[in-house]
Symmetry: C2
Subunit: 220 residues, 2 copies
DNA sequence: CGATGTGAAACGGTTCACAGCT
DNA sequence: AGCTGTGAACCGTTTCACATCG
C-alpha cells in the first residue's frame, strides 16, 4: 500500500553535481573573511551563470536575502548538510597499483571530509605492508567491515574491477567510485560514478581536432 | 566573404562523451575475435540503451547493415578517426606531487593512444630527476615546445593551477585536463575538462544519504 | 525477417525576464 | 533600490515506435 509520494525536494542530478563546487568556493570565501555574497559573485567564482546558481540554491530552500545576497557561512552549512557531509565519511581504496597508491597518499580527501580508512589489495606481497601510514588488508578483510556510509574506490586493473564490485556490493556497499576503464554492472540502489582518464583525454582530442579543422576553414 | 556553412555533422557533446566508451568496448570485442555486433549487444556492453547507441552512431554516418549489425573493426576505425586518434597525441603532466607522479607511471594512457612526453615541475629539487624513465623539466622548458595537438594535464596544488593554465594557454595549448580542485578561467577556444576526486566522493555521499533516508521511509 | 536509422514525442535542464521581498 | 526566487520559454538529449532496407 503506497502512500503519497515523499514531499522531499527532488534535487536534479545536474544541481547535485555542482553543489560540491559551490561548497568549495564558499569555504574559500569564508577563509578570506567574506560573510555575504551575491549570486552574481558566487556564480562568477564557481564558473556558472547567476540565474543557474539561484535556481540550484532554490532547491535547497530560501537561504538568501533579497536585496542583499547569501550568508556565506549559513549557505556552506546548508550545502554540507544536503550533501551528507555533517558526519565524516569513510573511504576504502581497492587496488594498490600506481593510481591506488597515489590516491592513498592524496591529501585532497582528508581536507574535504573524507577519511581513507582502508587500503586493500589481494597481492600477498603487498598485504600487510604500510602505505601512507596505513596497513594494507585483503579484500576478504574489508568485506567483514560495516558498509554503512562507506565509499569504495576501485583502482584495480579492469579485469578485476567487476569482481571487486560484486564483493563489496554483497557486503552492503552502495557507493562506488570506479577508476578502472570498464563498465561495472551493479544492482539498483547502488550508485557508481566513473573516472576514466583516457576517456577524458579522448574527449579533449576530439575538440582539439575540431578546433584545428575550424581554423582551416577560416584560414586554409 | 563567408561561404556556405561547413557541412560537417555537428556531433552533440553528450555523444562525444560516449564515443570513447564505445571504442573501448569495440576493441575488446575485436580482441575476442567478434567481427559483427548488434546495437543491442554493444549497448549492453557499454551500459547504454540500444536506441541511444543507434542515435549516437547515426551522427557518424551509416556504418551499420540493417538486419545484421555493425562491423566491429570498421566501426572502431570510424570512431577513432572521429576522435582524432589516428595520429598519436602527446601529453604533458604538470605537477609531480602524488597524483602527477602516479599519472606519469599510469600505463592506461599509452595503451589508449596517448604518449606522455613531458613531465613538468617547478621545484628545483625535482627538475632534472627521472620519473617513470622520463626527465622532469621546468614549465619554462615546456612553453618552448610545439603546442599543436598537445594536451596539458594539470596536477598541481590549486593555488598554482591558474598560473600554469595561463602559461600553457599563452604558448598555444588548447586542451587542458585539470585535476586541481579549483575553477580555471581560460579564453574562448580553449577546452578545459576537470576531474575533481573529492567532488566525486561528495556526489556519492549525497546519494548515500538519500538512499538511507529512503530506507527509513519504507522501514522506519 | 530482423536490425538499423530516424521522425516525433517526452524529458530534464538552462536561460530569460520580472514579480516579490528586504 | 537591489538582489533573490521563479513562471515560462527555450534548447539539447533521450526515448519511443516504426518505416526502411539489406
Amino acid at each position: 500500500m503506497s502512500t503519497a509520494p515523499a514531499p522531499r525536494r527532488e534535487i536534479p542530478d545536474a544541481t547535485v553535481a555542482r553543489l560540491p563546487v559551490y561548497l568549495r568556493v564558499l569555504r574559500t570565501l569564508l577563509a578570506d573573511g567574506v560573510d555575504v555574497v551575491s549570486s552574481e559573485e558566487l556564480a562568477e567564482a564557481a564558473g556558472v551563470r547567476s540565474a543557474g546558481l539561484r535556481r540550484d540554491l532554490s532547491y535547497l530552500g530560501s537561504y538568501g536575502v533579497r536585496g542583499v545576497g547569501y550568508d556565506v557561512a549559513r549557505l556552506a552549512d546548508e550545502i554540507a548538510r544536503e550533501l551528507g557531509l555533517t558526519q565524516d565519511r569513510f573511504v576504502a581504496i581497492v587496488g594498490m597499483g600506481n593510481l591506488g597508491h597515489a590516491l592513498a597518499a592524496y591529501s585532497g580527501f582528508a581536507t574535504r571530509g573524507f577519511e581513507v580508512r582502508w587500503l586493500v589489495d589481494n597481492d600477498p606481497a603487498i598485504v600487510g605492508t604500510q602505505i601512507a601510514e596505513r596497513c594494507v588488508v585483503a579484500l576478504e578483510e574489508l568485506t567483514r567491515q560495516d558498509p554503512d556510509g562507506l565509499i569504495v574506490v576501485i583502482a584495480t586493473p579492469p579485469a578485476q574491477a567487476q569482481d571487486v564490485a560484486d564483493a563489496v556490493v554483497a557486503m552492503g556497499v552502495r557507493s562506488i567510485l570506479n577508476f578502472a576503464p570498464c563498465v561495472l554492472t551493479v544492482p539498483d540502489g547502488v550508485e557508481v560514478r566513473k573516472v576514466d582518464l583516457a576517456t577524458e583525454l579522448q574527449i579533449l582530442a576530439f575538440h582539439e581536432q575540431r578546433g584545428r579543422d575550424d581554423l582551416r576553414e577560416v584560414n586554409p
